[in-house]
């Protein structure tokens, strides 16, 4: 199974600090861990999960062995990074940040009570795509509750998936 994985700029994971062997012109070596749902295992995204996990760098990952599909991620016992998705760092990441900011403005400006939230958007751009993705979803939540939050996240994921497909 092929999925995606966001890593920090230094190739480490956000949650465990594990340093992934990075791919060059060839895929990186296989990494193996025992799988325990919600505990250990290699975490990866399917296309529909991307918005929840945006980070500094993006890789394509091949998963093998025991694979457990969860709501917003996949856990596997074997994985190797196939290639760095340069498109993410080369512009897609900033485009995503801007897209989320525009969406956040759109939703916030539709309601006078959300002005304070609206004003907070531009100053937060430097916080990056994860923050703006959250803000757009949180502002949607102000208007439409958790259903709207989740719908916004799905919108973001679809936006990303479409651009990564090409």
């Amino acid at each position: 199974m092929i999925g995606y994985k966001f890593l920090r700029a230094d190739g480490s994971t956000v949650f465990s600090g594990f340093s992934w062997p990075l791919p060059g012109s060839e895929p990186g070596p296989w990494v193996e861990v025992p799988v325990h749902p919600c505990r250990s295992g290699i975490h990866a995204c399917r296309a529909g999960d991307l918005s929840y996990w945006v980070g500094e760098t993006l890789y394509e990952i091949e998963l093998d062995g025991e694979i457990v599909e969860q709501r917003h991620k996949v856990i596997a016992s074997r994985g190797r990074l196939l290639r760095r998705v340069r498109a993410w760092e080369d512009g897609l990441r900033d485009e995503f940040t801007r897209m989320c900011a525009n969406r956040a403005h759109e939703i916030a400006r539709a309601e006078p009570v959300l002005t304070a939230l609206d004003e907070d958007i531009e100053p937060s751009i430097s916080d990056g795509p994860a923050m703006l993705g959250f803000m757009a979803a949180a502002i949607a939540e102000e208007r439409g509750g958790m259903d709207a939050y989740r719908a916004e996240r799905e919108r973001q994921a679809a936006w990303l998936a479409e651009r990564l497909r090409s």
């Binding site: 956000v14 949650f15 749902p37 919600c38 505990r39 929840y52 996990w53 945006v54 980070g55 969860q70 709501r71 917003h72 991620k73 916080d127 994860a130 923050m131 993705g133 959250f134 979803a137 949180a138 939540e141 509750g145 958790m146 939050y149």
Partner: protein, 81 residues
């Protein structure tokens, strides 16, 4: 199902359950989603992990000498019986 996104104030109350694998999968997913965008909570989680590691390195405190002396007396008496 939670009716609002997890706030940082809620996250810090969930950290122990998260580290103990005691969160239900929905809450665990929301917890991790939050850590992904929130530097403050990522830092908090890091501090908590570091605190646990530091605690694990603490050596047992000294026993008050009087207590030790008393216990040694008792030990020698017990030896004799």
């Amino acid at each position: 199902m939670r009716d609002h996104h997890l706030t940082c104030q809620e996250i810090v109350e969930l950290v122990t359950d998260y580290l103990e694998y005691a969160l239900d999968s929905e809450t665990a997913a929301q917890f991790e989603e939050h850590i992904n965008f929130c530097d403050g909570c990522a830092a908090y989680l890091g501090q908590m992990r570091a605190a646990i590691e530091t605690v694990g390195s603490v050596e047992p405190e000294d026993v008050p000498q009087e207590t030790l002396d008393g216990l040694l007396v008792a030990f020698r008496e017990w030896k004799r019986t």
